[in-house]
Symmetry: D3
Subunit: 273 residues, 6 copies
């Protein structure tokens, strides 16, 4: 948690979906500081509501439930859905139907902004020696990445047609610390994740914006210059872990697609049944 | 039907999905000339199989059925699914689940190329005074356009990961003749449609290509220079209908989103329930 | 004059400024066919009004006069002002103050579209071996070109802020036929000029568009792909004059700036006093 | 004033126009350190000349006066003219005629470089969620921005034709500290202004360069990578004022054009009479 | 040979190198019409000089010989050197040393323009489903293509530094007719070759220009819009041979690099010893 | 030498060519830390081999010798050849034939990566007020720069065709400290050179990458955003020498090509005989 809140702004009610997941649990106490009430939802059981919290257990595939969920909400931080490669049925329900339900509920409830957890896997079939930016075309590396590309396009539709703003965070690898050579490029510290989410919530105008969610890693294959208006400035860096990681994983197979492509091991996964 | 076939190439078995729809009925006799066997499918009843035809009635949401459908097929011309703005459930089943089933079946059956009927509605929220090309980002104008954007990304995944080639045809307005001012820009004659489909089938290498499906209309807002390798060269033009159309529809409301945006009336449609 | 009008559309009242100039006299009878009333203005004496014509002698530097001039007008074809390199005072009055007066009058009178005769001299300091398009930055070759760059920016302001549409025609060299080697690149036939003006008037949406005004000359240094939505398609070509011109002017000094730069002889002209 | 001068270079005589204005008064003592003689001009009364200073009261619309003013000058820092939205007559005289007089005088007097105070309002109708750079086309937000776009094009002409170099500073908001949410994006500290002006004076070659005049603000909508050759590196940042400003101005109307567009409140101003 | 010469211009003395090769023999009688004297050179024996011809047998690796060869020459059409994949020593002598000798001789002899026969093999490792233009980076497919990339860079140096103009013709496949599926994309008829060479000689300013040498083939992977200033407009097309070729070569192996990459079979060739 | 090695990775055997040159002598002890054995070669006499070193005196024009040299090597840092403007014969042997010999030997010996010392002189005829990146076309400023452009294209061929990776370092000016005004832009400290070489060796995937070799100089005319994946982050800066250099060299002739173009004095050098 940042020593100082990243903004003095404060929202009456924020909604955090996927609050029981890895990043959700990490963001829960952090976002608490930026709002009067933090509503939390997940398909899994959540820790009981603390002060200023509201807890809702809910499947995003339940359209009516999602509509209720968004009542009285100022903005949504949408981490809900699956975040790994999964069978089509799981992706379809949670990430495609779920995303649709969320945006449609936002439209009906008058929610104006969604911070959408997209993924680096939207771009996973670009090579690691290519640098992509917010105007590069999607090249998903699996059904998960494909569902996030769908979510981004859905968000663009709801912005162009209904005026609902989205910041799509193409999150790299958000963990306590980088675990392998690829994460030296894609790592996003939890503190930088907080900075990024708060920047996305507090920027005066975002329309439909795409930003890569990484810390200040020297060797990233992402170029965020087109998202500068969001004001996200990372303060951490995977670089400090470089020696340890390289000692642990000195050799990469240069013919392994997981070495070659941005998506890493995801590019090797076939459809899961 | 073209007086001369557009290529001397001939496929053992082509599959045409959506063969009972408007364009499907138009393409059925045309494609018949380019293959030994033309397999036809639709969710609706089809005309009985003629010589060299095979007819299959099938819902694309039926994964097993689609897998069988692709047995022994060399290439697919995929018109199936819905092609107008519809309620989410209809779009989801036919165009999202259906497209997934098709590509997954192609992967399992070893089909190498799909000519995918995408739509101008993938780009519907670009303005009519902007010219877009194959590298412009999608801006769908409704759930239908969104589902086609999904199909294009799905196709890119199956190309990058599984080597299945796709030509995505962002078809404008394919009718016997243009019906309104917008179609002077977006019209695709049936003969040019045939040329385009045959070019897409016969180009030696297509990888994942995007092409706008229009005739040689002077006032298009599309730039096909990045698809030149496909060898599509339209021979018809909406221009010859200009006087008649302008006489019939002399005035357009300049404040109407349907006048302003490329998607025309689709941009005005809210979600349908 | 085109054998067939270029459109079936017809405006109640068009205004043609600069109607006594070279291009003005050429366009007067041509535009007459596209409207019920053609209002004509110039600082010089005009031929008396024919049927369906209104004639106004006026200095564009007269703001009140211009405001009256635009009463009841549907659209303006603005050729007024000076069209050659002149002393600053002349350029300032006619092309800078004059353009401002015109747009400000349009705003007050509710005129929605202006076809603005800009000039190739906005781009005159690009080299003749460079190809420019509508997104290349201006490089005017003199005060005249500079004033036209001003007019284009003014038009952009009035579009962005007040919703008045403009097509800026960067006219090459519009004469009965090309006169020299450079005009083999920049020539615009009178018939193509008519096609271009009518396309600019009749395109449903133009916002702020820039188009190079040339015939179908093989050796142009202009790329109009970003203006395709206007629907301008030239039918004439300077190519048919090539032999005659090259016989007459076989040698060009390769060190002469007039040979090197797009603006031709204009790039050599110093300020005129 | 910087503790250390930003360069060891020193000019025999610099001219600062607009020296009685806000930025002029700020730059006067700062520039004094970089030259033997600092000539100062303004239409308003100036503080009496100190040591190494020359003071000239002058209207930039006075061509002869401006010509005299530039005698013996090495380089000009041109802040003169109006710097807010004003009636057309004021803009015309000070910023259009004035800029012409300045460049024409520079040509006659052999002055080789002008640091031209342009403005963010040249780009004011780009959205705040778009990032612009030195090759983005101008979209002025009013007559003031339009006059600065004129000045930039004039400068390009004098560079291309007469070899007079210009650095156009598209200054954001230069005040002691940022005053509102928008200035968190556009603020330029006085020290950074000094760095920027000195970089522009001392870069060996500038030709015609455009640079956005902002401090190192995280949330800017400007990309200065194309101006890197100038060597401007800001050391201050609006970020340190973020909490205070956001506490003071927590809510922005998302439908207000001043929130949406880069030009802020300028985009709302109609012509002033 | 064109029925009508492509230009009325006529040069006192043109030099054609490589005049004994396939294209050289084809161009010899064609170029004869555009000059008073046609000097011809080759390392091989040439047909004896006809009227208005001069014949020189010469190895381009002979620097002194090349210097003499260029005496009194107005412009060079440089076909000399090897034009197929060859061992390094052969490429080095003929195409690298030879090109250097030619440009250095041009510099010393004051020759101002060279039409340089480059090759599509400069770009051979771009894919056939990618469209390249004059600003795409080189990706040579062998030593031959590499030597032509060297020649283009050499030409750029001699333009930037010494003012010698070059048009680099990236010639596709110039034969009496296309021989295989790839040549449906890359074919250049002899008449179009003549048009292209004459356009390159007669364009008033070319600086350093790159143009793809192809006829008007529908399915090319080249975009010549950046070379429009040259005025090359092909009149032939490989399309008329399509049926015959496709009947003869109905199947291409989609995994063969010669199918996938623009360079065709050249991409498969290893170094030749 | 960096206090801390820039990576924990360690190669069994690295080859450093040109090890007796200025940069070679600087890198020799530095690279020693990153490998078990450092093989060193030069055409000149080298210091005797220390522990873990192997020394080979060799002319790169000797193909067989180079082939032996690459036996058992993991990666090459190729500084060999001439690094100043020289007569053609010297450039040809050392940099053209030498580079070919090196890559061909790498292919035969199975060496997978080469860090190729290219040069800023590949881009020397871009202006100093233009900012170039890895996709800008080469504009060499002499035979030396031309030979380096050749080497880069050769490297691309060996990557595309034979899978040998290259990082081309377009080194600016690597000296103990900057010596003149231009080096304030192009300087590369020895420590940053070490960082750059090590980054190029240790990046998991480089394919064919181009990076400008400069320290963190504020006023560079290079943009390295497309090489970010390499992970090179300079820590030194020429800025700290600015005062001293500017005091020593206060005046530059603005008409001197060495002031105007990126290549500095190299652009003035004619062919050396």
């Amino acid at each position: 948690m940042l020593a100082q809140p990243a903004t003095a702004l404060r929202w009456p009610r924020l909604l955090l979906t996927g609050a029981a997941g890895g990043l959700g649990r990490e963001l829960r106490p952090r976002l608490r500081r930026y709002c009067d009430v933090l509503r939390l939802s997940d398909i899994a059981v959540l820790e009981p509501a603390g002060e200023g919290e509201e807890v809702v257990q809910l499947d995003l595939a339940d359209a009516d439930g999602v509509r209720s969920l968004l009542t009285g909400v100022d903005a949504v931080v949408h981490l809900g859905g699956v975040s790994t490669e999964q069978p089509w049925a799981a992706i379809l329900g949670a990430n495609i139907v779920g995303a649709y339900n969320l945006y449609e509920a936002a439209r009906r409830q008058g929610v104006r902004r969604i911070v959408f957890a997209s993924s680096n896997h939207v771009m996973g079939f670009w090579r690691q020696d290519e640098v992509v930016d917010a105007q590069s075309l999607p090249r998903p590396d699996g059904l998960y990445g494909l569902s996030k590309a769908f979510g981004e396009d859905l968000a663009r539709l709801y912005w162009d047609k209904h005026g609902i703003e989205t910041v799509a965070l193409r999150i790299g690898s958000s963990f306590p610390e980088p675990r392998d050579r690829r994460m030296l490029k894609t790592w996003l510290s939890y503190d930088d994740l907080e900075r990024l989410v708060v920047a996305s919530l507090s920027a005066p105008v975002v329309g439909w914006s795409v930003v890569y969610g990484i810390s200040d890693n020297s060797a990233a294959f992402y170029d965020n210059r087109l998202a500068r208006h969001l004001g996200y400035r990372p303060r951490d860096s995977a670089d400090v872990f470089r020696d340890r990681i390289e000692a642990r994983q000195p050799v990469l197979d240069p013919n392994d697609p997981a070495t070659i492509y941005q998506g890493g091991a995801f590019v090797r996964t076939g459809p899961i049944e």
